[in-house]
């Protein structure tokens, strides 16, 4: 079912403060084309449907194999990565929009730093040797490694947050990706040394208590990370931490 032409409808915005507008492009169909290759074609010949030459569309991409998360955008109303969005599987005209929950930079490019700031808040890393050696870490059982591996696939793309009704441009909710990383690093034997600090961080502003269990995060996650399980697990860990804070400290 090859179509000879590809119709693109792109929501554009020239600067963070200017008004958004729609622009349409018609491209030649190429076999196995994806959204990134289409955007590259637009960049090569930025002429819109009214035959005007316009500034090329701005977008972000990096790995082109769905592991970096930078080309995340809303394609035909659904948030996903542009690199794995194959044109032949999409209904035309293909509508491209930037993610709406992050500050817009230009066209399809948004600023996802809020996610990285949240990862810093929860110390989403494992401390390594400092001024002295802390030794070799314990062996991780295979079953646990298997669980951790799925969680470690998170690429901080922002799909779960774009689709979350609790996460908005103006509030400070951390969102599923952050909670899942807290779970990942808390279950690591060396990472567990900072477990309390991580839990205290998600028991604060915009933390775990704001989750409304709409569970859209898990539906849109491109890596099939069990985000709702992570949320429940962090719910349990924070509850136990609360009891500890209230009755044991």
């Amino acid at each position: 079912m090859m179509e000879a032409l590809i119709q693109l409808k792109i929501k554009r915005q020239d600067s963070p403060d200017s008004k958004p507008y729609w622009e349409e492009f018609t491209l030649e169909h190429k076999p196995s084309a994806n959204i990134i290759s289409c955007l590259q074609d637009v960049a090569r010949n930025p002429v819109n449907r009214s035959n005007q030459t316009v500034p090329p569309v701005v977008w972000e991409s990096n790995c082109l194999e769905e592991v970096c998360g930078s080309c995340t955008m809303v394609i035909n109303g659904r948030v996903r990565q542009a690199c794995t969005a194959l044109v032949d599987q999409l209904q035309q005209p293909i509508v491209l929009e930037p993610m709406s929950k992050f500050p817009l930079i230009r066209d399809l490019q948004v600023d996802r730093s809020r996610m990285f700031e949240n990862l810093k808040k929860v110390q989403a890393w494992i401390h390594i040797d400092g001024t002295h050696e802390i030794g070799v870490g314990p062996t991780i059982p295979e079953k646990q490694r298997d669980k951790s591996y799925v969680l470690s696939e998170c690429m901080t793309c922002g799909c779960c947050l774009e689709a979350c009704p609790q996460f908005t441009l103006t509030n400070n909710f951390m969102g599923a990706a952050t909670f899942s990383q807290v779970r990942l690093f808390n279950m690591h034997p060396t990472g567990a040394m900072e477990k309390e600090e991580r839990l205290e961080a998600v028991m604060g502003e915009g933390g775990i208590a704001h989750c409304g269990n709409a569970q859209v995060c898990v539906e849109v996650c491109p890596k099939n990370i069990p985000l709702t399980e992570s949320i429940a697990e962090i719910g349990r860990q924070t509850f136990l931490q609360l009891l500890k804070n209230l009755f044991l400290k």
């Binding site: 908005t168 028991m203 775990i208 704001h210 409304g212 269990n213 569970q215 539906e219 697990e233 349990r236």
Partner: protein, 227 residues
């Protein structure tokens, strides 16, 4: 424990919002619906249950501390939770997202219903003074009148169904938020279990409405039952 940060207070209030939905408000809803369902057994057991509750010692203090304050707190926090989020159910129409949105809608509906419900049942009692009249004949007459019209019946059916949905679905959310139910399979099973639970509560409520609508019976004050 020292000083708390703004974030810690926010966390604590949200947890308290979640907890008050279960106890005392949810517990009261179960009690309220099951005692009212006594009306389907007969008007006398129903009247005796009203007498029993209305003759509890320190009733007004129980009402204020176990019902009014938690309910008001839960409502205020509910509106706060409602305002900081934005439903996207028409964009991402998954069943759970519908439940999430319905949870907020039913919360608002129940709030409006309760203003009406408390205004027509409890408020006159407070107005006239608790000891000046018998609760059972008064309340039963209010209900008999309400259920003569389809407007009254509809208002109560919407109110009851919203409350049972909000409670049953809220219990499911509670189990996840507090980490009682963790895995996806367990979450799904809990969803079915609470759906069944909500259905049972709904049936009790609907049966009471039906009984009042079909057989309105006025009663006399229960003599000797109040001492």
């Amino acid at each position: 424990m020292g000083k708390f940060t703004k974030g810690q207070i926010e966390y604590f209030l949200l947890k308290l919002h979640s907890l008050t939905g279960l106890v005392p408000i949810g517990a009261f809803l179960i009690l309220h619906l099951s005692l009212n369902a006594l009306r389907t057994v007969g008007v006398l057991p129903y009247q005796l249950s009203i007498d029993a509750l209305n003759n509890l010692p320190f009733l007004i203090w129980i009402e204020v501390s176990v019902i009014y304050i938690p309910l008001l707190f839960h409502s205020i926090m509910g509106f706060y939770v409602f305002t900081i989020a934005k439903s996207n159910v028409f964009k991402y129409s998954y069943p759970r997202n519908w439940m999430y949105t319905l949870q907020r809608v039913t919360g608002g509906v129940v709030f409006v219903f309760l203003v009406y419900h408390v205004g027509t049942t409890v408020a006159p009692k407070l107005w006239f003074g608790h000891h000046l009249f018998d609760a059972a004949p008064f309340l039963i007459d209010v209900m008999n009148d309400t259920f003569t019209t389809w407007t009254g019946r509809t208002i109560y059916l919407i109110g009851i169904l919203s409350a049972t949905f909000h409670f049953a679905n809220g219990l499911w959310g509670f189990c996840i938020s507090w980490g009682i139910v963790i895995g996806p399979q367990a979450q799904r099973n809990a969803g079915y279990a609470f759906m069944l639970f909500g259905l049972v509560l709904s049936v009790m409520g609907i049966a009471t409405v039906v009984e009042f609508s079909l057989h309105p019976v006025s009663v006399q004050p229960t003599f000797g039952g109040t001492s």
